[in-house]
Every structure is written in C-alpha cells, then in structure tokens.
Amino acid sequence: MTRPEMADETLFLLLHNEMVSGLYRAAEHGEGENGRCITKLENMGFRVGQGLIERFTKDTARFKDELDIMKFICKDFWTTVFKKQIDNLRTNHQGIYVLQDNKFRLLTQMSTGKQYLEYAPKYLAFTCGLVRGGLSNLGIKSIVTAEVSAMPACKFQVMIQKM
C-alpha cells in the first residue's frame, strides 16, 4: 500500500511527552507504582527499537561486527529517528560505548541548562529502550543508560552483555 513516509515531528514529540506524563498521571492514581513508569517507558522504547531496526536494516548489507552496528545506530538510525547524527561515539573496546548527542531532540523542548535536570530521566527512558531494543534485535544484548549534565546535551552509555 502506498503511504507517505513522512509524518510531522511535532506530533511525535507531543505524543512522547504525553506518554511520559500520562504514565506518571496513572501512577499517581495508583495504577501501577511510580517506580515502574521508567521501566514501562523503557520497555515501550525497546519494542519500538526492535521494530525500527527491522525496517531500517531491511536493505542494508550485513554488518561486519559490533562496531559496525554501533556506527549504524549512531548514523543512520539516529538520523532517521532524531534527524541528526550522534555527535560523538567513544568505546573502550571492551563492550562499553558512549554515544553523545549535544542537542538531543527529546530534551530540546525543555528549557536548556540545569533547572529541569531531575525531570530528564523520564524523558530519556524511552530512548534508552529504543537503543537497547535495536541492538538486541541485531543480536546484541546490552544495558543502556543515559546521563545529562546540561540540557539539551545527553550521553547514552551502552554496556554490551557478553553471552
């Protein structure tokens, strides 16, 4: 079926925000304790990541190795999702990768600087899941965490779980 490949980003951003606040709203009403909200967001991201990677890698050549995959995440994946590349990828070659995005899309609507730092986690959980899901579907088990020192810059740390 022919369908326009493009949607408007605003809608996604609003949806994402609403997902976050919606979940927390529900948690306050006792539906599911607060702590699990992050997990839920992460899980949603995970599932989306799985689906996206399946689509995005549909026509790419097979990956050579782990690093090859990480590069794909930083370039193609990130660009399709957040319309920019990861600004900096670092690794210790022992299965830890640090992806830095100096202007992370999901934080840009929040006022820059430090004042809203404590809210940051819930706006990053989904993306952590996104990365973890993508990697896991490419056969890489990992733990993905995020840290923000000053909005809207953001670091994602990927720890590969060797099996």
Binding site: G51, E54, K58, A61, F63, K64, N137, G139
Partner: protein
C-alpha cells in the same frame, strides 16, 4: 513455485513453517532444520567477506534429489528458508532473491505489529497470504 517456506528465529527455532503438500510436512521440517548447518556456515563465512559480498540473500544452500533449498538471513539474524522443486528450472536466482525480499518486507510488517511479541510464532494473516501467494503461483 515454492513447496516449503520457513521463518527461523535468531535462536534457530521455527517461527513459521508452511509446506505443500502438507501431509509430509515433517519431511520439510528435517530439510529446513538440516539446512541451518549451511546457513550458519555461510553466515560465519559472510562475516569475513567484504561489504559488497555481505548481502542478505545466501543463495542455494544445498540441493537434494528432488529439491533445491535456498536461504536468506536478515540483519536481525532471522532466517528465511525456501524449498523449491528442483524440477522447476524456470526459477532464476534473481526471482528467488526477489521472493525473499517480499518475504522480508512482509516479515518486517509483522515485526511492526504492536500486538506481535518478537520471538512468538507468526500467526499474521497478512504474512500467511503473502506466503500462500508464493506457493500458489506455479511456473
């Protein structure tokens, strides 16, 4: 054209397998199962190969007396195996390749169905129809 089409999970268990005629389905189970040896071998070989050789289509896995077994591996390490009647000479490699592409697209949609849990058996009607179409059109 295809007599058996199977989707095999990362962990090498079948997510979907369909064959015609259905009565000796088990036979195809064995055919596909053993073909995984070749798939694994090809993938591991693939790793070393150059980028341009790293395509998802694995080509002919092995021929048996009456069948040809072809393979395809997605980047998510999900395998598609297609068994074709070797009498069917009409099938060119390119046609097989494009059939796999179709299969892959359809599978991708399955993966994107929010109600499908990755790793579960595939019950999608859409996918089923796609497979049927591939098995029906006789050359």
């Amino acid at each position: 054209m295809a007599v058996c089409i199977a989707v095999i999970a990362k962990e090498n268990y079948p997510l979907y397998i369909r064959s015609i005629p259905t009565e000796n389905e088990l036979k195809f189970h064995y055919t596909v199962h053993t073909s995984l040896d070749v798939v694994d071998e090809k993938i591991s070989a693939m790793g070393k190969a150059l980028v341009d050789q790293r395509e998802l289509y694995l080509g002919l896995l092995y021929p048996t007396e009456d069948y040809k077994v072809y393979g395809y591996v997605t980047n998510s390490k999900v395998k598609f195996v297609m068994v074709v009647d070797s009498s069917n000479t009409a099938l060119r490699d390119n046609e097989i390749r494009s059939m796999f592409r179709k299969l892959h697209n359809s599978y991708t949609d399955v993966m994107c169905n929010p109600f499908y849990n990755p790793g579960d058996c595939i019950h999608s009607r859409a996918f089923d129809n796609m497979v049927t179409s591939m098995m029906m059109q006789v050359c």
